[in-house]
Point group: C2
Chain length 339, copies 2
DNA sequence: CTGAAAGCGCTTACAG
DNA sequence: CTGAAAGCGCTTACAG
């Protein structure tokens, strides 16, 4: 591989001058610059990021994104949004998909990342533990969280409590009293802020409306289509079937809808279903849902990181430390008053 | 940040010994090793990847994956499979989502990657141009392609021609003669191998069955749900509606199914629909489809890269240069003989 | 088993 | 405008 020395030899100047010329620094004569650029092109010169990084203080121009499951619509969309903004600004994206494995989480967050392979980190969907906050802070890693919030770091999210309240209130207003919840009940050692907040929001809204909580109406849906379908089947089998279901994600809601159809339970006449996200498919299946801006959350998180890294408030305006994006109830044909 | 020098001073040995001790190299006394390890832990030592890379010949332990759209099920799943295998072996994944933008493609493939930020590259869904092959080869970048094939590099894929033949033959055998195609017709400057191969397969199968090709039956579906829906609507409006549709992806097929439902066209009585992928949702909507192993393609591509990078055939067995994974027709309720 | 020294490919004051 | 030289944080023969 051709190095800066080859260019120096080729053009008859010093490596220092080559370096300046290549990077467009001032105080290089146009003639010299042209000679150097030409040689670089001819010899197919490409700088070594390792050498550049070492010599100029360790920047990698890389941002790591840690997600739970790239294959879920929410996460894939967030990554898409963040990657786009970061790449525009010349940053590369290192993707870590921890896939619900607590070990992987530990390895990535507590070992891998601190290895200085990225300048900053976007954590999506995980509520960082105090240990993680301490460790990453100690190693000087700038972090923004997406979908959860800790006081130490900037964050982007929607108000998951409000999301649940919106959905459940809608069902209550329609006259439902037996309302099931399909979400994620067990954490499996991961700290997942979102499922917990939505479950709490569901419970609180019912309680405040004077509806007694029924633990048998809280089902595990694993935040997947299949999990939602399993939960739906379970619900359809019951003699005291609820009249409505609040699903903490659209993908789970789709599963419930399919289970209902298979069981011959009509939606919305016999069962109302509401989801969260406004997944691209929600429109087509007529799912009432609480829409959240997903792509935008990814973009905002990326901007917060860039601001932190480059400190240019001018370009992005003032980015709040804790950004909370609005959500909105989208009425479609999967909800109606109980018959 | 604490460096190898701090550890050397702290433990009273040379940096050379510290380096050996840290990396578990032989010829270090147990006592010394323990002292060094202890100091490293106490001082929170983390090696600088830049320094390591520079000193030991430029390896980054990073593999780049270039995809078209992370948000599409196929790509997200491939990334998931590849990332998992790579991370297990200690490699990080750099994700480039070029999003159908030819400029982004140029910038990433022809500029960014060659910058030595990754040891190797997995290209997903793009048919590399001769220029790209030449350029990346010249820069010594190991590449494997997924979903396309060039003679110069290993590849993993399914036989897209056979995929289309399977789907269309199924429809022909059911007795259909007017069979539409929904896929991607225009390339927009990207070289997409898959859409082209499926379209050609569709045409060839019809031709060989003696069915005259009707250009008005080839519709643009952009490989998205919405694109499929648009194409579906267009088809439903026609007076000479086809009796069957072959969609080059399940997501487009879902769109067609929704369009049919909205138009009151019954599936499969009045319209047969077959897709490609076996998307997780296909089962629930009863879509007949040609299943391809998606996760596995990602895993195999990762293994091919690792083999190339580490040259250990033992662990992975012999990995063929060009791997073609089998596909299979999955019969469900969206296809039937024309009425 | 351990150390001194060169070297990886750049950048960056400091002189001139 | 340009160059000599030190330095970034490691690894790696080479001696001992």
């Amino acid at each position: 591989m051709t190095s800066i020395h080859d260019l120096a030899r080729e053009t008859g100047v010093s490596t220092a001058t080559v370096s300046r010329a290549l990077r467009g620094l001032p105080r290089v004569s146009e003639e010299t610059r042209a000679k150097v650029m030409d040689a670089a092109l001819r010899l197919g010169y490409v700088p070594s990021p390792h050498a550049v990084g070492l010599a100029s203080g360790g920047q990698t121009r890389t941002v790591a994104i840690v997600v739970l499951f790239v294959t879920r619509w929410f996460f894939a969309t967030v990554v898409h949004g963040a990657e786009q903004v970061l790449r525009e600004r010349g940053y590369d994206v290192l993707l870590y998909n921890i896939g619900g494995d607590p070990d992987a989480r530990r390895r990535v967050l507590l070992t891998q990342l601190v290895t200085k392979r990225a300048d900053a980190l976007i954590v999506v969907g995980l509520g960082p533990t105090p240990e993680e906050v301490l460790w990453l802070s100690r190693h000087g890693m700038p972090v923004v969280t997406l979908g959860s919030r800790v006081p130490e770091w900037p964050s982007v999210r929607v108000d998951d409590d409000a999301v649940a309240r919106t959905a459940v209130s809608h069902l209550l207003e329609l006259g439902h009293r037996r309302i099931a919840y399909v979400g994620q009940l067990s954490d499996e050692g991961l700290d997942l802020a979102t499922p917990r907040a939505r479950l709490e929001g569901y419970r609180a809204t019912l309680r405040e409306a004077g509806v007694e909580l029924d633990p048998s109406l809280e089902l595990e849906g694993r935040f997947t289509l299949e999990g939602g379908h399993d939960a739906g089947e379970e619900l359809m089998r019951r003699t005291d079937r609820p009249t409505a279901v609040f699903c903490a994600s659209d993908e789970m809601a789709f599963g419930v809808l399919y289970a209902a159809r298979e069981a011959g339970v009509r939606v919305p006449e016999e069962l109302s279903v509401v989801g969260v996200d406004d997944h691209e498919m929600a429109h087509y299946v007529g799912l009432t849902t609480v829409r959240q801006p997903v792509l935008q959350q990814g973009r905002v998180a990326a901007r917060q990181i860039l601001q932190r890294l480059q400190g240019d408030d001018r370009e992005y305006g003032h980015v709040n430390e804790h950004v909370e994006l609005p959500t909105e109830l989208v009425l479609r044909s999967s909800t109606a008053p109980p018959s």
